[in-house]
């Protein structure tokens, strides 16, 4: 008998059918294939999904490509809109706004980052605002959109985009995809998880009504409940609430009152912030807050007061705790989605973390004999990802001038992780932004938030001085003009959707 096939995992069980469950099922069915593996998914309609999670970052395009999903088709089916970035309002101080765009600022000059030159020009009073050099930001401000175009040297070829979609429809869409490729879905509520006595591995899931689902490998996509990784395996949780004190959200969609804009909005309130995600058919909203600073009723009141259209569904309160699972892969179980930990949706990173979890899992996919061999690497990389995103999120709270509430007073003066502290220090003293390894957020993202929230560099790189100021000013002006031209020629977001991916 063939050793390989004997050792091979035969049955993969995915517990949970939210965004994480169905993304995982879809990817496994495509990449591993359901002829090689039995892929099962269990979900409970009674419990339902978390129902939020509608904004993404550009990396999701890669996911679509691997799955060979036609982007326009997927957008039509999920009422999706395009997203060029996030507008942050009232974060530095009330009344102020900036956009964190998907794309760079300007272009490198002599292999030095654009922003170094910008810092110099700014100090001479000759620079325009940072955002005038970002095509994604300018397009967002003008409600324009086009997919990046293949034009040598043009800013039009140099930005990213993501989607804003209906989470429920997205899971449905992926479910159709996965089932068509052989994933077997079982409807039912998991009542218990059975472990193997010797190994402590998960053996099976029992459903209410008596059915038992056995498997070789389990993926916990049960959301915040974390039934397998925590409930059964007691893996443990590292709490980050002291850095990111928000622990609740109240969500409510509303009617759309204008054509959807190509960006998400995050407006800071006194004890948290509110998202606004425009879709083709409606607008998603939610207020993320720290319950120790604001009651649920008050938070709901703030949300409703700040909706721009009539509310469509009753506001729903969701509780969470920010932090991560001590291990993401434990025994024969990997936690993907909210079961793996929670980072608030300020930078729309959760779906991305699902995606990277899936690709890491596929890369390190185990066999029966070597069930946990990939776990260490998997866990190490996931911790890194989580922590770098965490630090980026903390920056938004830490870098503020707001003194109008206890919440902001706490955030402004809290201790922050060392990595973030160093990063801020380096920028302030030298204008340099150091990117560690494959850290998700790159230079332009840090720059956008630093500058947007009042962290200013005191110096710039001395090499910048080799270019005469007048020439520099000229180049910047020309670049700004090019961006304006590009914006002139971009279709409106509405028009672009109508031409490409209007939902039927």
């Amino acid at each position: 008998m063939d050793i390989m096939s004997d050792n091979k995992i035969k049955k993969i069980v995915i517990a949970g059918g939210g965004t994480a469950g169905w993304m995982t099922a879809a990817a496994l069915s495509k990449v591993l294939g359901c002829t090689n593996y039995d892929v099962h998914l269990v979900e409970s309609e009674e419990i339902g999904t978390i129902g939020v999670g509608e904004a993404t970052i550009p990396h999701i395009q890669k996911f679509n490509q691997i799955l060979e999903i036609d982007e326009n088709e997927f957008m039509k089916k999920t009422q999706a809109t395009f997203k060029l970035g996030i507008e942050f309002i009232n974060w530095k101080k009330i009344g102020q706004s900036y956009i964190h765009p998907f794309g760079s600022y300007g272009e490198d000059i002599n292999a030095f980052p654009f922003h170094q030159y910008w810092l110099k020009l700014k100090s001479s009073g000759l620079a325009s605002s940072l955002e005038s050099y970002s095509i994604a930001t300018m397009a967002a401000r003008h409600k324009k959109f086009t997919r990046p175009l293949n034009i040598n040297g043009s800013p039009l070829s140099d930005f990213g985009y993501a989607f804003q979609f209906d989470a429920g429809r997205y899971a449905q869409f992926l479910r159709g995809y996965a089932e068509a490729r052989g994933v077997v879905r079982t409807e039912g509520k998991i009542s218990s998880v059975e472990l193997c006595e010797n190994s402590g591995y998960i053996k099976s899931l029992s459903l209410v009504g008596g059915a038992v689902i056995e498997g070789d490998f389990f993926i916990d996509c049960t959301g915040i409940r974390a039934l397998l990784i925590e409930g059964a395996l007691k893996t443990g949780f590292e709490d980050w609430s002291h850095w990111l004190p928000c622990n609740s959200a109240v969500a409510a969609p509303c009617e759309k009152i204008e054509e959807p804009i190509p960006y998400t909005r995050a407006t800071a309130h006194t004890a948290g912030w509110q998202w606004r995600i425009p879709l083709q058919h409606r607008t998603g909203n939610g207020h993320v807050y720290a319950s120790q600073y604001m009651s649920d009723d008050e938070a709901t009141g703030v949300l409703l007061k700040n909706l721009d259209g009539a509310v469509i569904a009753d506001p729903r309160v969701i509780r969470f705790k920010t932090g991560r699972r001590v291990k993401f892969w434990n025994k024969n179980c990997v936690a993907i989605g909210l079961s793996s930990g929670f980072l608030e949706p300020l930078e729309s990173t959760s779906i991305h973390l699902i995606q990277t979890a899936i690709s890491k899992l596929i890369n390190l996919f185990p066999s029966r004999r070597f069930m946990e061999d990939g776990a260490e690497l998997y866990n190490k990389n996931t911790v890194f990802e989580y922590e770098r995103i965490r630090d980026f999120l903390i920056l938004h709270y830490k870098a503020t001038e707001r003194t109008d509430s206890d919440f902001w007073n706490y955030c402004r003066s809290m201790e922050i992780p060392e990595y973030l502290r160093e990063k801020i220090k380096l920028y302030v003293s030298t204008g340099r932004i150091y990117r560690e390894n494959e850290e998700l957020f790159s230079t332009p993202s840090w720059l956008a938030v630093f500058e947007g929230q009042g962290i200013q560099a005191e110096e710039y790189h001395p090499a910048v001085d080799s270019m005469p100021l007048a020439e520099l000013a000229e180049r910047f002006k020309a670049y700004e003009q090019v961006i304006n031209k590009c914006i002139d020629f971009m279709p409106t977001h509405t028009r672009y959707i109508a031409d490409n991916c209007k939902a039927e």
Partner: protein, 497 residues
């Protein structure tokens, strides 16, 4: 009707081309053509010519087999001019004969290029020219009918050896009953009206005729002696006065005439099958003869030789070309500079215009007036074109190039430039040697971009435009790759005697 007698004076290219064209156009019983060859060096280009596409039409009208002609004149196929380091240091641009891009939705292609440029596009403009792509890949070929019907073209001309070309023209003319007399002019016999009755040669021989062609080169031996003749100098318009011609070995590729700027002026090379003509045209105010010689020798990669001396050139034209019953052709009529210039075109266009206007009834003032007017216009536009080349040569700013922005321009050139700068439209005059497309590609390829795009493009689908332009570039490079290697096709095509 009595047969007319036309007398050509000269023994260089312009004389033989004139003789061949005239004998080809008229049978001997209508017009008798006589050529008086003084047997001295004529002051006119004599080494190599970088033709325009009109050259091939001329051959076709003469029923000369291009394949034989190419074999006999050490010719290479010419796809365009390569501006090396011309408008921007380090930038090469091939100005091909064939079209750049194709119209989209009834709007000129270049408007789209302008639009994308304004959006930061840095794609080289010659990516849209099949000729440029082919030349860069050292490829050449004849497009099949299908491709031509789809709107592709690969127009070409030739680089030819001028002394061999003269030989060939001589053979053609003699075959068509040209009478050749050897002898130098002593003086002219004029009638009371100032018309030439005859050339009196030093031998005492009198060569009478009804009409005379001055093909004596820039000495303009005949017209100079006619009443009211005047030479208009272009010393401000084309401020160069020296030229060094050197002949070196065969170039790597024959498909382009190369142009590049240098301190004193510019360098040009015309690649023939077996050799290359290198010339440096300069202004001695900005470069000494010695320095120019060193530059030319470095450029040509040849040994220093005492035999080569800088030639003095005097750009300018006769005020009138056709005076009484005498017509100046070629260098005798006007001297342009060796910058995007074809001497053969210059000569042929003069003769063909004569044939067009010459009435069998003989000479009349109307023909002369017409001829002079049209030719003046033509020259003015050629001058514009040469000046534009100088204006675009921004890769160098010292020496000669420090004066190019101050060159006086014609109102027509000024209008062309401002209209183009403002709106990307090309003002096209009558009797232009270069078609609008050529002007446009010369401008854009050398980074002279309009400030605004055509308003007709407002609201166009940018994504689609980018896609279609990308397709155009791809088709060009694919097509170019499928053509034959230059050497191979030249070897097969040109018939050697």
């Amino acid at each position: 009707m009595t047969s007319h007698r036309l007398v050509i004076y000269g023994g260089g290219v312009s004389a033989w081309v004139t003789a061949a064209a005239l004998t080809n156009a008229y049978t001997v019983d209508v017009l008798k053509v006589v050529l008086v060859n003084p047997g001295v060096n004529t002051k006119e280009p004599s080494i190599a010519d970088s033709g325009f596409t009109s050259l091939r039409r001329f051959h076709a009208s003469m029923r000369i087999s291009e394949r034989e002609l190419m074999g006999q004149t050490s010719a290479t196929f010419k796809l365009g001019a390569l501006y090396k380091n011309w408008s921007k240091p380090g930038q090469n641009f091939i100005h091909g004969f064939s079209n750049y891009g194709s119209m989209l939705d009834g709007i000129d292609f270049h408007q789209y290029a302008v639009l994308l440029h304004q959006c930061g596009d840095t794609t080289a403009f010659d990516a849209y020219s099949l000729a440029a792509q082919a030349a860069a890949a050292k490829k050449f070929g004849f497009l099949n009918k299908d491709l031509v019907e789809q709107g592709f073209n690969l127009d070409y001309s030739l680089h030819v050896d001028l002394s061999q070309y003269s030989q060939l023209m001589q053979t053609c003319a003699v075959r068509k009953h040209l009478e050749v007399i050897c002898g130098q002019l002593d003086h002219l016999n004029l009638d009371a009206d100032g018309n030439i009755k005859a050339l009196v040669l030093t031998s005492g021989e009198v060569v009478g005729g009804d009409f005379f062609f001055d093909c004596s080169g820039s000495d303009s031996v005949l017209v100079r002696q006619l009443p009211g003749d005047k030479f208009l100098k272009w010393d401000k318009e084309l401020p160069v006065n020296k030229q060094i011609d050197l002949v070196g070995g065969a170039a790597k590729s024959g498909l382009c005439t190369d142009l590049s700027v240098c301190r004193g002026g510019w360098l040009k090379s015309i690649p023939l099958k077996d050799k290359t003509l290198y010339s440096l045209t300069y202004n001695s105010e900005y470069e000494s003869d010695d320095a120019a010689m060193t530059a030319a020798i470095n450029f040509a990669g040849v040994e220093l030789s005492d035999a080569v001396q800088p030639l003095t050139i005097v750009p300018g034209r006769r005020e009138r070309f056709w005076v009484k019953n005498c017509l100046a052709i070629g260098a005798a009529a006007g001297n342009f500079t060796e910058l995007t210039f074809s001497y053969l075109h210059h000569v042929q266009s003069g003769v063909l215009r004569f044939i067009d206007l010459y009435s069998a009834a003989g000479v009349n003032d109307f023909s002369a007036q017409q001829y002079n007017q049209l030719t003046s216009d033509e020259y003015a536009r050629v001058l514009d074109y040469q000046q534009l080349n100088l204006l675009l040569g921004a890769a160098e700013s010292s020496g000669f190039w420090s004066c190019t922005s101050k060159i006086p321009r014609t109102a027509e050139l000024q209008r062309k430039l401002s209209l183009f700068k403002e709106r990307g439209k090309l003002a096209f005059e009558e009797y232009e040697t270069w078609m609008p497309g050529s002007w446009v590609s010369l401008l854009l390829g050398n980074n002279y971009w309009p400030e605004k795009h055509d308003v007709l493009l407002n609201g166009c689908n940018l994504e689609l435009v980018v896609k279609r332009l990308g397709q155009m570039r791809m088709v060009n490079s694919n097509l170019a790759a499928q053509l034959s290697d230059e050497d191979e096709i030249l070897g097969k095509y040109a018939i050697l005697k």
